[in-house]
């Protein structure tokens, strides 16, 4: 019998579905990076990904001490006069800590269900 040219095998479907699964999975994974906190100052940008307490300095000058707990972050101490950044307390994804005198912004990289907050 003359062999008919293969057009489309079961294996092909399995392969295509597999590729789809891997693709979608990788997209989902890249969307959820996990909690990372950005500490941005005038001349620096520091990304905190591991829990712990960090000293934030700028050109060798101590500015503040930041405590990061994975899904919460706070300023423990700061050199600014009003200490509003310390008084802000714990902040989670979507929240921002601002220290105006030191010009430091602390925020989560993670996306929230809103774009911004009025305060």
């Amino acid at each position: 019998m003359k062999k008919v040219r293969s057009f489309f095998r079961k294996k092909d479907v399995v392969l295509i579905i597999l590729i789809f699964v891997v693709l979608i999975f990788s997209i989902l994974v890249s969307e959820k990076k996990g909690s990372k906190v950005v500490v941005q100052g005038k001349d620096f940008r520091k990304i905190l990904s591991k829990p712990g307490t960090y000293d934030i300095t700028e050109n060798g000058r101590f500015l503040m001490k930041v405590e990061f707990h994975g899904n919460r972050v706070r300023v423990v101490e700061s050199t600014c006069p009003l200490k509003l950044c310390v008084k802000t307390g714990w902040v989670g994804p979507g929240g921002t800590i601002i220290c105006v005198p030191n010009e430091v912004i602390i925020f989560f990289e993670e996306k929230t269900d809103y774009d911004t907050v009025t305060w």
Partner: protein, 349 residues
């Protein structure tokens, strides 16, 4: 689904259908991914200006959004010193340093001071751009290094030198004069004005630019998200790290005045920066006032006025403000929320 004879790989109708649907499916997914990619071109810039933090989120199909964002930031920094209370380059300082003298100013300054006085008139002085002396007395100027609770006598004395009617205008020559020892402070309106400028700047680069700009919790929309969706804005809980409401804006602006923004505590009493021009003390009875308006200048000035008024009579704010194009949400002391019927329109997507 598959023929039991797995050697049957001929071009049958069924195989063609399966193949083409898979092909179309993958094409569709690829296209969607591509679309998401092209849409996701919001450039974000965070920095400090206007005495607070600034976040610029902008997108343009025409030019690099980074160029727009940097131009916006530069203009915000310009406005910061131009209308500062203390900066040597400030026009406001120049006027304050020359009391009882006509000071010639540029059109931008003239219009803004005039607008500030118009808002004072509109709110019966609940918003007053001449509380400079009071702010100085409390230490809510410059770097906030001299914060203190003044004595009653000091406050009485400062109150004598407050009142927007002491600002005189000469339209013909664009001149401004302060008399009776008042000092202009544009802190309650310059941020809103700067935010309105950001939209103008963005649109001057690309009339189809979209995005928003936030400065210290006040937000001006440049254009809808991806050109058609509203931006989702949370309203901050005045006491917790939380959001108490959501609003959806495709255009316009929103501003909040809260007692948690700038304050200090003495003997367990919180003294914040929103001073009541009639008493000379921080306005009481309210935690925050959020205003949605067509423009940020209105939202900014009226959120301050609303804060001063709401502690005494929140109903007046809820009923009167919508007529001025300002839609309020008030969080009273204790956490009770009051809002106008018109505000509720922004709570829907």
């Amino acid at each position: 689904m598959w023929p039991s004879d797995s050697n049957d790989h001929r071009v049958t109708r069924r195989n063609v259908i399966i193949f083409s649907s898979l092909l179309l499916g993958s094409l569709a997914i690829l296209l969607t991914l591509l679309l998401i990619r092209t849409k996701d071109q919001y450039y974000e810039l965070r920095d400090f200006a206007l005495g607070t933090s600034v976040r610029i989120v902008v997108s343009s199909q025409k030019i690099n959004p980074r160029t727009i964002a940097e131009a916006i930031l530069e203009d915000m920094k310009r406005i910061t010193y131009k209308f500062s209370f203390t900066d040597e380059r400030s026009v406001v300082k120049k006027i304050n340093d020359h009391p009882d003298e006509w000071v010639e100013v540029d059109e931008e300054t003239y219009s803004l001071i005039k607008a500030a006085c118009a808002f004072a008139e509109l709110t019966n002085g609940a918003f007053d751009p001449t509380i400079g002396r009071l702010l100085e007395l409390w230490g809510f100027t410059g770097n906030y290094e001299n914060l203190r609770v003044p004595s009653r006598e000091e406050i009485e004395e400062a109150l004598k030198h407050i009142g927007y009617k002491n600002v005189l205008f000469d339209d013909k020559n664009m001149r401004v004069m302060v008399k009776n020892g008042v000092k202009i402070d544009l802190g309650g309106i310059a941020k809103g004005y700067a935010l309105d400028r950001t939209r103008q700047i963005a649109l001057s680069f690309d009339e189809n630019a979209t995005g928003f700009v936030e400065a210290g919790g006040d937000i001006r929309i440049i254009g809808p998200k991806f050109g058609k969706y509203p931006w989702v804005i949370g309203v901050k809980d005045p006491r917790e790290d939380n959001v108490i409401d959501y609003i959806y804006l495709k255009s316009g602006a929103v501003a909040t005045s809260g007692d948690y923004e700038r304050y200090f505590v003495v003997d367990g009493v919180r003294y914040h920066h929103i001073l009541d021009p009639s008493t000379g003390y921080p306005a009481r009875g309210v935690w925050s006032v959020t205003i949605v308006a067509e423009d940020a200048t209105t939202a900014d000035a009226l959120s301050t006025a609303g804060f001063v008024m709401a502690g005494k009579d929140w109903r007046k704010v809820v009923l009167d403000f919508p007529n001025m194009g300002a839609h309020p949400l008030i969080v009273l002391e204790g956490g009770t929320i009051e809002k106008s019927e018109t505000f509720k329109l922004f709570e829907r997507e």
